[in-house]
Amino acid sequence: MILKRVLYIVSILATLVGLYGIFLRFTAGHQGAAYGSYVVWGLWVAMYLFYVGIAAGAVILASLDYVFHLPLFKGTGRLSLALALITLAAGLLHIWLDLGHLERIWKVYLQPNPYSVMAQIVFGYTVLGIIVLVSFYLTFRRPEGALLRWLVIISIPLALFLSGGVGALLGVQAARLFWHVGLFPAQFPVFSLASGIAVMLLVLGFFWDRRDPRLPQMLLVLGIASVILQVIKLYFVWADYSQSLYGGVPQNVEAVEEVLFGPYWWAFWFGQILIGGLLPIAVLSQPRLARHPLWAGWMGAAILLGFAIARANIVFPALTVPELKALVTAFSDPRLEYRYFPSLMEWAVSIGITGAAGLAFLLGLRWLPLIQAEEAKA
């Protein structure tokens, strides 16, 4: 299939780019990064949020098959778990490479500060990863067994809680008014579910067996769910930003205006809202298009692009607002500036990890029976 060949080539090239980026990361450390001490988190943290969000959503979707035994989604559970594993690994790899001393990651497990939300979610995602790995194994050995069902049951609240925890990671920061809203732990699970559904739309649309008579209905149901969640997502964005602008607190207003009218306004309006939100709503709310694999697949990709930009628009703006206004000019140094654009090394690593995730998925499709489609009945 031409699409698969193209994806193989793109994934391999992207992975090679990533290997160069990782070479730079391990030889030059953080010196090749564009983030500094003021805008202290960059592309890799945004990508971590993006990928673990997809993983949490994909895990929840596996329950349609292994917990609720919905005939329409029978056979999709293994695919969901595979996607969860791949995206979880991509997310954790991003955040591991972001550490100043990545060789000390073991300290989080053996010497944690239990009050730290970061320590809690590292533990939580590790547990979730182990549950998903074991569940994935069981889908081959005992797909009808009770253990698999219970593991997936446990993973649902865990995935929801961890998604909320990622929101709380930012939300507990009283120093950053843009983050310090009660909305964050609430909206992140919604984003995760929406991301998980989007990746399923993409994969089902492009890779599921077209002979499966259920496919159009599967896509329609996921499409309707996507429309609902996109409307909720847009409502959250509107509620958050309009409330902040109305309240008029300078630190908050500055961050919101950075998103809406700053140098990367086009990423928000065109990427996050138009392509990532309004376009999928317009397309997927039409049953004729929602049932079509290619339309569904592309809209899944559009939603994911929107969420990737959304994660960046959550992380960066809060950090580009000075905690004390005069800090902007207090000390002159490239690492002490309130602006940021990812460096070549950062892009290379993220492109590479994405490419490797894609390659892992394609190889999984080739060597493992991830697609468990049903044949059309005579």
Binding site: H30, V40, G100, Q111, P112, M118, F331
Partner: protein, 245 residues
């Protein structure tokens, strides 16, 4: 007859405080903004004392301008770490690498810090910076001889600083490279009976340091003055750096 240098009184206060058990000391800093001229000597003294690399600064001086011409005024505000009594940075650290020490200074264990920089996002004063492993001498010319040139000049850069009483030579990607760093009230100097570097360097004698638990100390008198404020008090951080306006 000229008054004795206020530093002498601060040194006496310090000597007295060092005779007390560690947990009975309460180090605070008072900065008199009426005297600060914005020379940034304290910034440079701190960089020299702690051998800070590019991108790391513990005590920048904020320069604020008010009003419109011709009614313009300027104010200079040195901003060290506030050593908050309720620090927002310590609870977020995933490995407990940063903590409030017994004397009230918020310290960082360089060997424990994993460099996630979560604490930097937590600080409302931007008091923490990250050591990216940069060098001032990187990219400079190499020259023959034993005095000038990148190799020779970098010997000083790579020599150890003595933060927290331990030697920290700069090599490879060993700590404090890859760690978060911040002002610690020059604890290594204080424990050796010396005032923090910014205090002794200030040309306007605008910065004071001492034990607020000592009713005879200068800082105890100063923090009781009516015109004293602390930055962002509404966050409940309870800073230990006071400003006289």
């Amino acid at each position: 007859m000229a008054e004795p240098d206020i530093i002498l009184r601060l040194q006496d206060d310090l000597k007295r405080a060092l005779q007390k058990p560690v947990q009975e000391r309460r180090w605070v800093m008072v900065i008199d903004l009426r005297k600060c001229v914005g020379c940034s000597a304290c910034t440079i003294a701190c960089i020299a004392e702690n051998k800070l690399p590019p991108g790391v600064v513990y005590r920048p001086v904020l320069d604020e301008e008010f009003g419109t011409y011709p009614n313009v005024t300027r104010r200079f505000i040195p901003r060290p770490c506030m050593q908050c009594d309720r620090p927002l940075c310590t609870p977020v650290c995933p490995v407990g690498a940063t903590y409030k020490g017994p004397e009230g200074v918020v310290e960082i264990n360089y060997e424990q810090c994993i460099g996630c920089r979560y604490c930097i996002t937590a600080c409302p004063y931007a008091a923490r910076t990250f050591d990216f492993g940069d060098y001032y001498t990187r990219g400079t010319a190499e020259m023959a001889g034993v005095v000038v040139g990148q190799t020779q000049a970098s010997v000083y850069e790579r020599a150890a600083n003595f933060e927290y009483g331990n030697p920290w030579p700069r090599r490879g990607d060993a700590s404090p490279i890859g760690n978060v760093r911040k002002c610690h009230f020059c604890l290594h100097r204080v424990h050796a009976g010396m005032l923090p570097s910014c205090v002794t360097t200030c040309i306007g004698r605008a910065t004071y340091f001492g034990d607020a638990n000592d009713p005879d100390s200068l800082v105890s008198d100063l923090i009781a003055l009516p015109g004293v404020i602390r930055l962002k008090e509404d966050l409940g951080t309870n800073p230990r750096v006071y400003y006289i306006f």
